[in-house]
Structure formats: C-alpha cells, structure tokens
C-alpha cells in the first residue's frame, strides 16, 4: 500500500473528533483554538509514531497527517482523488529515482568491456521505452480523473460566488430555493453535497484554494471560473489565496467550515437575517460610533443605515471565525487592534485606520461588532 494509507489512518482520530463538532462548538472555537487543536493533534500523532520508530517519525512530520490546510489530509472528493494520485506518484518517483541512481552506480562500476555491449539497447530501453510506458500509464491515470475534477456541479446545487478583493473574499450565497445573501471571508458548506463555486475578480488575479477539499482555481478579471467541490468530512478547514496578488497576499486566507446539512441550513438562515440589535449599552454606543465615523460608507450591516459595498459585509461578523480574511481570530481585542491599527496588522490594506479614536470608543465599536452573531 502506499504510505498515504497509513498517514490518513493516523489522522483519523482527529477527524472523528472534528466531525463531532456541533455548530455551536465550531463557533465557540477561536481561530487560535482551531490552530491549537492542530498543534495538539500533531504532537499526539508524533508521540504515537515516535514509538514506532525514527523513520515513521519522519513520515509523520512531513506527510501532513494534521493541518487544516493540507492537501494530504483530504476532506473532499476532489482532494481525496488528488491525494491518492500524489501518493502513487510519490512512490513511483522514489522507485524510479533509486533505479536511475542504481544504474548510474552500475555504469561506473561495470567492466568497460561488458559496458560496451548493447550500448544502444541500454539507451533505448531506459531512455525511451521505459519512460514512454511509465508516462503513458501515468497519463492514463491522471487524465482519467480529470473530467471529475473540472465537471460542473449538477443542476440545483448550492451556488456560492466568491469575488477576490484586495485582500479579502466577497462571498455570495444562492440557495436552490432562490434566496441569496452576501457574506465575507468565510465559506460554510453542507457535507456530502457538491457545491458550485463561481470565482471572479474585479481587480487583480487571485486563486481560490481550500487544499483539504480540492484543487485551486484562479479568479481572473473579465472571466468567471467555475469550480465544483464536494466536501466529504465535516470540520473546519482553511483556504488561502494561491496567486500572488500584491502586498498582503500572504494575509488573504479564510475558513471553510463543513457542516451537517441541518446545521448548515440553520447557519445559512441565521446569516440571511438582518443584524441583531446591540445587546448592551456599550454595544449600542458602538453602533452609534460605527455610523458616526462613516464606517457605513464602506461596510454594510443589514438592518442598519450602513450600506457600503466597498469593504466586507459585517452583518454577522461576530459569528465568523476570523477577521481580516483569516488574519486574526474574532475577539474583541483583535477587533480593537484591527480598527485602530489595521495598517500594522495588514500591510497595504485599503481600509484607513481609526487610531485617532479613543480607546474606549474602539472598545465600544468592537463590542458592537463582536455581538453581530
């Protein structure tokens, strides 16, 4: 068997725990918490394989048994196919590489009189015939899965359009029922069903990639690219922009959460509603400050007078796992940091910083936003 099989087994305990996450738990988890879970699992798996031996340890560290952004721990139909393809090719590569080195050593060691015999046969066999056969086989395998990788999702699938912005994601849900809603910087999907992504950009080229669930596809101005993904395991994964898109390309991430169908429907229903009223005095003052400082010119919060379309929609910003497109976990302190010193958090960001506001004003705005569950 290919080494991948063992690898994925190693990660199974973690996956089971993740699949048991209820939506409420998922939302309680902070960004750091998410990542910390990853670290915890890595250490555990290291301890596990550490007992098996040094060689296995190397595999355990390198093959990506954990990691919520790993193509080697697939959680989607497309990613599973590609991970299998990789492990087969990796094994083949190792064999061929050793064989070539073996032949090289043989060539150096062999007696020249013997070496001179059948030179042409040697060259043709190993230089042309063997590669042709191997490559043909590989091509047959690799291209056999191509149609499934580029096919559209069936009619009636959930449609999510994602616009690459500088440097965040504008997300737009359209349900088969005909409802639609604009969100930002987070994608949630029901498990086991194909989702049709429509990828666009009105600025520079980006690339939409959730390694655990499937391959990437570019977002190119003037075009609409389509990508169908079928998540197979519930859990929280991380996506990232894969095409260099300028200053803060590195800080253009997002979380992709795969939920059971009913949890997903409940979540989407909540996202479609207008923003909740502020829960306390501080948050109420935060809303006033939000409006008074012109935040609504760029940001929309449905149900209020803030209808800006330049920046991310903030209607349910408090319910998201991260702010700043996967840059910081959604906590009040981070919201304060973001609003007051956004230029330091995210170099080149288009949003002006509000460092001129008093600390307590920033706290109030942050409290308001944090409450937008």
């Amino acid at each position: 068997m290919c080494p991948g099989a063992r690898c994925r087994c190693d990660g199974r305990a973690g996956q089971m725990r993740r699949s048991a996450l209820s939506i409420a738990e998922a939302e309680r988890l902070t960004y750091r918490g998410q990542l910390a879970t990853g670290i915890y699992r890595k250490r555990r798996s290291l301890r596990l394989v550490g007992r098996i031996g040094g060689a296995a340890l190397a595999v355990g560290t390198w093959c990506g048994c954990d990691g919520i952004q790993s193509a080697l721990e697939p959680a989607g139909r497309e990613a599973e196919q590609l991970a299998d393809l990789f492990w087969w090719m990796a094994a083949g590569t190792l064999v061929i590489w050793l064989a070539v080195l073996g032949l090289a050593v043989y060539s150096v060691r062999v007696d020249p009189e013997r070496g001179k015999r059948r030179e042409n046969l040697f060259i043709i066999t190993f230089g042309a015939v063997v590669p042709t056969v191997v490559l043909t086989g590989l091509l047959a395998y690799g291209l056999a899965i191509l149609p499934g990788q580029v096919a559209l999702a069936p009619e009636g699938a959930l449609k999510i359009s994602v616009d690459g912005e500088l440097w965040w994601w504008r997300v737009h849900y359209e349900t088969p029922g005909g409802n639609s809603v604009q969100l930002a910087n987070e994608v949630r999907m029901p498990v086991g069903q194909p989702v049709q992504f429509e990828l666009r950009s009105s600025n520079v080229i980006h690339s939409f990639w959730i390694p655990s669930i499937g391959g990437k596809k570019d977002m190119i101005p003037g075009r609409i690219n389509r990508l169908a993904l079928t998540p197979t395991k519930t859990g929280t994964y991380r996506g990232i922009c894969a095409e260099y898109c300028g200053t803060s390309h590195a800080l253009m991430g997002f979380f992709a959460v795969v939920l059971e169908q009913d949890e997903f429907s409940a979540w989407l229903n909540r996202q479609m509603q207008d923003a909740p009223e502020p829960a306390n005095e501080l948050a109420t003052r935060g809303r006033e400050l939000f409006m008074a400082n012109g935040c609504g010119a760029c940001h929309a919060i449905r149900g209020t007078s803030a209808t800006g379309a330049i920046g991310p929609d903030l209607t349910h910003v408090g319910s998201r796992l991260s702010i700043g497109a996967g840059t910081l976990p959604t906590t009040r302190n981070n919201l304060v940091k973001w609003i007051g010193r956004v230029h330091q958090v995210k170099p080149g960001v288009l949003m002006p910083h509000f460092g001129m506001l008093q600390e307590e004003d920033l706290q109030a705005i942050a409290a308001y936003l944090e409450g937008l569950k």
């Binding site: 990542l35 990506g64 990691g67 070539v100 080195l101 230089g127 042309a128 291209l143 899965i145 520079v204």
Partner: protein
C-alpha cells in the same frame, strides 16, 4: 554510433610534412602575439576578444548569482519562523521578485552565453567569434542593465510584481518605477541576449575549423546552437509582451484591462511562451558541460552522439509546446489541459535519452574520479528527482493542488540547481585551467560539494511537503499552527548550509593563486580542441587552425598537438598585422573566407551606454531625454558600422597556408554579416508574430473585438501604405542589382526612390488610425491597431535609415560594385519589412471586413 567509426575517410588535407624553421615560427608567434595583445592600462576595458569579454561576462553573471543567493537567504530568514517581522511585506515582495528575476535574467541566461563566448571559439579552433564587438556590446548592456535593476532594491524601488509580472497587478495596482524598471530593463538585457545568441549561432555554423562537418561538432556546441536558436524564438514573445504592458503602464493603452476589451490572460500566454523554453535554454547549455566532462573522465568518446543531438533538438522543439502547463488553474477547457499534460510528459523522454547516453558512456569507459565528476554525479541525482516531480506537476490534475505552492518551489529548484548550478560548478572546476592556467583546489571542491549537496537537499526536499500541506508561494509570512514551522526551519538551515558551500566555491575561485603552480597542458587528458592551449595560454587561441576529421582530435588524430603548435595548419601567421579567422560552410565546413576581425574599441561600451540611456530614462518616463539618448545611440552605431564593418581589404585574396587561397571579402549569403542579419530578423519577425497573435487572441476570445464603435483604420490608408512599402522593397532590390552591375546612376536613383517611398509608406500606415480617429486609450482594438501600424512604420524608418547608409557608403567609396555587403544586408532587411507590411495591412485593413 561509437567514437571510432566516424573518422572521415577523406582526410585528404594533411598538415605540412616538415616542421617550419625555428626562425620562421618565432616570427609568426611574434606577429600573432602582437596582433592579439590585450590592451593595457585603462584601455584594458576596450578589449573585445572572447577570452577577455567572456571572462568579464561570466564573472559578472556569477556576481549576480551571489547577489540573488543573498536575497534567497534573506527570504529564508524571514520564513524560518511564523509571523516573522525580519522583512516587511513590501520588502519581501521586492526581494522574491528580484531574486527570481536576477537568477533567471542576470545569471542563468547570461552565464550560458558567457561561458559559450569563452569556449565556443576554442572548441571550434577559431581565433574568436565572428563579431567580437557585438559580444562586448552585449556584455556592456548586461552589466549596465543588471546593476541598474539590482541596485533598485537598495532604494526600496525594486519591482514587486513577481518575476512573472502578471497584470493587472503590475499594470494598474503597482504605481512607482519598479514595474517599469523590470519591463524596460529586462527588455534591454534581452535584446543584448539575442545579439549574443546571433553571435553564437553564426559562430557555430560558420566559424568551424575545416573538416569539422556537422556530425563532428563537439556536443557542447550543438547544445549551445540549440539553446541560442531557442533564444531567438523564446525572447521575442516576452519582449512583445513587455512592450504591451509598458504601453499600458505609461500611456494607458488597455491591452490587459478587462474593462476595455483587454485580457490579462494574454500576458500569461506571451510570458510562458517565453518562460517555458527559458527553462530549457538554461538546462541544455548546462547539461552540455556535462556532455564534455563525461567523455573526458570516462576516457572514451561519448556514446550515442547522434541520439544526444536529436534529443537536444527535440527538447528544443517540444519545449515551445508546453507553456500552457503554467496556466492549468486559469480555467482552460479540459481538452487543453489533457493535451498540454501529455506534451509536458513527452518532454521527459528526450531528457531521459540524454541521461542514459551519459550513463552508457560511463559504462563503456573507465571512470577517473575528480571534482568535476563529483558535481556531475550530484547534478544527476538532484536533476532526476526534479524531473520526476516535473512529471508530477505536468499532470493538470495534480497541478490543481501543487500549482503556486512550495511544492513547485522545490520542483523548480531541483531542476535548475540540479540541471544548471551543479553542472556549471562542475564546469568551473573542469574549465578553470583554461582561464588562468591553474587548477582549483580538489580539497576545497570536495568540501564545497558536500556542503552544497547536503544543504541543497535539506533546504528543498522538505518544501515538497510544505507545499502540499498548503503553503502557497510568495507569502511573506504564515500563521502558527498550520504545520509549516518545522519544515520551514529545516529549509532555512539547509539554505545556509548550501550558502556555505557556494561561499567555499567562491573563495576557491577568487583566492590568490600566486603559489599555485601552473597545471600541465591538457590536465584532464581531454580529447576536444579547447584543451590545445599551453598553461598559461596565449591570447591568439589556436596557434594554427587545424584540419579536423574526428570528434576528439586530441585523442584520435596522430601528432595533432605538435602540428598545431608548429603552425603546420592554416593561418599560422598574421602577416598583415590583422586579426583573422577562417569562415567555413555551414554543413560540411569547407573553408570559404579569411575573415578579418575587429580589434579593441570603446565603441561597443559607448553604444551600450547610450542605448541603455534610452531604457533607463524611459523607466522614469523622461521621454525627451530618453529619445535624445536613443538618437545618440543610433549615431554611435552608425559610426561603429561605418569604421568597423565591411571594411574594404587591401587585396582580394590571401594565402592561408597549405596552398589554400581564400577571399578576404564576401557578400550576400556567403558572408557572416548576412547570416547575422537573417537570424536577427527571425527574432524580430517572431516579436511581430506575437503582436499578430495578440490581435487574433482578442479576436477569437472576445465578442466586442473589433467593437461596434470602431471607426478605423479603414482600407484606403493601410493599402496605400502597403503599396508604397512594397514599391520601396522593389526599388531596394533594383538598387542592389544595379549596384552589382555598376550602373551607378541607376543605383542612386533607385535607392533615393526607395528611401522616399519608405518614408511615405511609414507615414501612410500611421495615417490610417490617425485620420480615422482611433483612440488607443478607449479600447484594446484601436490600441493594437495603432501598435501594429507603429511597428510597421518603425521598420520603414529603420529601412530608410539603411538606404541612407548605403547611399553614403557608396558615395564615400566604402562600397563598390564588387564590395556590396551593406547593400545585400539592407535588401535582406527589406524582405522582412515587406513581409511585415503585407501582414499588417492584411490584418488591420482586412479583418474588420471579415467580421
């Protein structure tokens, strides 16, 4: 085919039977030494000889390599730990852009050409390449552009769009001079690189020793020939693309602006149409070094010479059909993905053939262990793994995951460091005695090898997994907890170990060698001509130009070294005090001319400086000073051609020895200048074809091309222009004929008419878009029509300038009925003008009618 069977049967030309008298030899050597002397003092920098300029060129490329390496180490420090603040985002983006660009444009390409400039003449038993001043010009352009571009990072003004420069990021979202610097600076360097490629091609085809038929050419020269030919067709797409992008940046012509009919994907097509062959342009000349090293240390001729040549040529061809595999994630249809996957896999086969030819040679010989062989072995181990991961990413499906991640970073470094850096270091240790007569240190070489080999693998092997664990390329930071930390730290440690290895090599090269004894002659006991020189060597190259009838003459031709040394072959003397070499026919290498070569001069440096002024001033949008610099450059080049080329000889023929009399002046297809013009124009035509490709790319992909509102350029003006330019072409042909027939009056009239028609035609082609009110900023259609018109008009203008040059030349008595090189070359240029004008008119006037 083995090495023993290809000895030519008709080695009918024998060296002089008797040794020339001692006094005669002394006199010959004295005169040769005087003619080929390297200028001293500050005039040293006016040298143009290949052995001097080639070494400058290589040293400069190596310095840029070290500079790029330092940038790489900066990146590795930044990525060693998550959320590092060692470099800011802006700085990091500049650093990775400059690292990639420097390694590709200022190291990999130039070093191939510079090593070839040094060794090609020596392997071909020539005294120099046919256009020494062109090599010098290329070097000065390179150093000027390279320093300008690299220096920009010290002023925080470097390009930051990635070495691939994808618009619209680089067209609208990155103000400042960085991107302009990249576009104009590298275009300038690429033009110089094309000039060098022309030189190498003509050198290989026309300056071989007598008898070195096409199947006896040393493998290195074959590889260089293939790579240089690839440069001709690979660089023009990038130059054309850079032109489009710079026009968009500087003048708002919307070639890549989707809002005005443009298309960002066009850039990707043009860029990778260059970018993929580029990989093989780097790889082939490097593996060529291995093809020279292996027979030497196996002690026998290469096995499968013909296979290797065919494989190299095949690789060259196939490499132009792979570019789309850099665009697998752009949303192309499945059929394209499948076809380009298959083509990309196919290129592994010729590569495999070459590697197994090398192994077969080792099997058939008895290996002598040495530092060059050590690096060769390392190159093989690394490159094969890079090739295998290349097979993986060539599959579109796997590429959906691997593309733009650290997996690709690992893959490309395995290919380029295994396929180029290790072979070049191997070559460094192998060829070094030819540079200053001394060997590099075996001990340091071995230490350096193990540092480099181990460090490289520690740095880059983990990156495969970093990438598949989800780390994209070109990120200045990454968060904790995603599983990237350990892998990145290992890579950083490995990078520094690799750095130490390279530092040791550098030290070995630059350390004072006063006490190191001179190596013995032909220290590795090699079989090819470059090992003829004494240690240290003389500037003249070969003492006499030998008759060749084998692939390894030092092994296979009896008394060969003695005969060469004693001047028993061709051109043993410099009676007239002129630098000379032989020109032979391209296929069977029969001597046809004794070519006079130009000597030291500052003109190439001045031409490079003024030409560079145009590009550098253009970077800052200082168009008026830039144009002044260009006009001065044209003047300098005119002067250069006027005093240094097509010089009338004092006699028609010269006795080159062994009873052979050769003409000193040939024109038309028999002359090297005609070949250079033809080859150069192929590159220019390729750039033009890329512009036409762009027109049809818009045409096929976009429904609004041409837009409904397009008013021009109409049919009348373009057709008039086409007629005028074709008439000018006809007049040019007549002028050449009447010049040959010595009908002086008719010649002047025809040439004057041709000049006038050319200017009128150029004006008429511009009148089309001008008078029909096409605004190039409004939409991509008027922009591309304008560009095609301007391109054609520029051709007409240069053609007219050439007419004027010929007029002046004949008036001044530099050209005569018999000595008509200039007229032939200008006519050749005009063939291409006619072709360009015809295609432009058909496209811009004809195709709107089809729609």
């Amino acid at each position: 085919m083995t090495g023993d069977s290809e000895r030519a049967e008709s080695a009918d030309v024998k060296p002089l039977a008797h040794e020339p008298a001692e006094a005669v030899r002394r006199g010959q050597e004295e005169r040769l030494r005087k003619v080929w002397v390297t200028p001293s003092g500050w005039h040293y920098w006016s040298a143009v000889n290949n052995t001097i300029v080639g070494v400058w060129y290589t040293a400069a490329a190596f310095l840029f390599f070290l500079f790029g390496g330092v940038l790489a180490l900066l990146m590795r420090v930044q990525l060693a730990v998550p959320e590092n603040t060692f470099l800011s985002a802006e700085t990091y983006n500049q650093v990775f852009t400059v690292h990639g660009s420097v390694m590709m444009f200022l190291f990999a390409i130039p070093v191939f050409e510079s090593i070839a400039v040094i060794f090609l003449p020596q392997m071909l038993g020539a005294r120099d390449l046919p256009f020494p001043r062109l090599s010098a010009f290329g070097f000065w352009c390179f150093i000027l552009g390279g320093v300008f571009l690299s220096g920009s990072i010290l002023f925080d003004a470097a390009p930051r769009g990635g070495w691939f420069m994808y618009p619209p990021l680089t067209s609208k979202y990155q103000p400042g001079t960085g991107a302009d610097m990249w576009l104009l600076g590298f275009s300038f360097i690429e033009i110089a690189a094309i000039a060098a490629a022309v030189e190498l091609i003509v050198g290989t085809l026309k300056c071989r020793p007598p008898g070195m038929r096409i199947n006896l050419i040393p493998l290195y020269c074959w590889y260089v020939l293939v790579a240089a030919a690839m440069v001709l067709f690979a660089f023009p797409p990038l130059i054309a693309g850079s032109m489009l992008l710079e026009l968009e940046r500087a003048f708002d012509w919307p070639f890549f602006d989707a809002g005005r009919g443009g298309d960002p994907l066009l850039w990707q097509h043009l860029f990778w149409l260059f970018g993929h062959p580029e990989v093989y342009i780097i790889f082939l000349p490097s593996i060529a070094i291995i093809a020279m090293i292996i027979p030497t240390f196996a002690g026998r001729p290469i096995v499968g010479y013909t296979w290797i040549v065919l494989a190299a040529v095949g690789t060259g061809f196939i490499s132009f059909g792979l570019w789309v595999h850099h665009m697998f994630t752009t949303g192309l249809p499945g059929i394209s993905l499948g076809l380009f996957s298959a083509a990309s896999e196919a290129v592994a086969i010729p590569t495999g053939v070459q590697i197994f030819c090398f192994l077969a040679t080792l099997a058939a010989g008895r290996l002598v262990r040495s530092v060059p062989m050590l690096f060769t072995a390392g190159a093989l181990a690394i490159f094969v793994l890079g090739g295998l991961t290349g097979v993986m990413v060539a599959l579109a499906t796997f590429d959906f995951q691997a593309h733009d991640t650290f997996f690709v970073v690992a893959h490309l470094h395995y290919v380029l460091i295994g396929g180029a850096v290790f072979p070049i270091v191997a070559g460094c240790y192998y060829f070094f005695p030819l540079i200053n007569g001394k060997k590099l240190s075996d001990r340091l070489g071995k230490i350096a090898f193990w540092f480099m080999f181990v460090g490289f693998n520690i740095a880059f092997l983990p990156m495969h997994f970093t990438g598949l664990r989800g780390m994209p390329r070109r990120v200045f930071t990454y968060p904790e907890g995603l599983g990237f930390e350990t892998l990145n730290m290992i890579s950083t440690v490995g990078a520094f170990i690799l750095g130490i290895g390279i530092a040791i090599v550098t030290w070995d090269i630059v350390r004072p060698k006063k006490r190191v004894p001179y190596a013995e002659r032909n220290p590795w006991n090699a079989g090819t001509l470059e090992w003829l020189p004494n240690m240290p060597s003389e500037n003249w190259g070969v003492r006499s130009i030998p008759e060749i009838d084998s692939r390894y003459p030092l092994w296979q031709q009896p008394n060969f070294v003695r005969d060469v040394d004693q001047g028993r072959f061709y051109l043993p003397d410099a009676e007239e005090g002129k630098r000379e070499t032989l020109v032979t026919t391209a296929i069977d290498s029969r001597p046809v001319q004794c070519l006079r070569l130009p000597g030291p001069s500052f003109i190439p440096a001045v031409a490079a400086l003024t030409m560079g002024g145009f590009f550098i001033l253009g970077t800052f949008y200082l168009w008026i000073p830039a144009l002044i610099s260009l006009v001065v450059a044209i003047g300098v080049i005119w002067y250069w051609l006027w005093i240094g080329t097509a010089v009338l000889p004092e006699k028609e023929e010269k006795d080159v020895g062994l009873g052979l009399k050769l003409p000193l002046y040939l024109s038309g297809p028999a002359s090297v200048g005609w070949w250079a013009m033809f080859i150069m124009m192929l590159a220019v035509l390729t750039a033009f074809v890329c512009l036409i490709f762009s027109y049809f790319f818009y045409w096929t992909i976009h429904d609004d091309f041409p837009p409904e509102s397009a008013t021009g350029p109409g049919v009348f003006w373009p057709c008039l222009a086409g007629g005028l330019l074709l008439a000018s072409w006809g007049m040019t042909l007549l002028a050449r004929r009447w010049n040959r027939a010595n009908k002086t009056g008719a010649f002047y009239v025809a040439l004057l008419l041709a000049l006038g028609l050319a200017l009128a035609g150029g004006a008429a082609i511009l009148a089309g878009p001008w008078l029909t009110g096409l605004n190039p900023k409004s939409h991509v259609y008027p922009a591309i029509v304008w560009l095609l018109a301007i391109w054609t008009a520029l051709h007409a203008a240069v053609g007219a300038l050439m007419h004027a040059y010929c007029l002046a030349s004949r008036l001044a008595g530099r050209m005569s009925a018999r000595h008509d090189i200039d007229m032939w070359n200008v006519t050749l240029f005009w063939h291409f003008v006619a072709l360009t004008a015809g295609i432009t008119v058909a496209v811009i006037a004809g195709f709107p009618l089809v729609k």
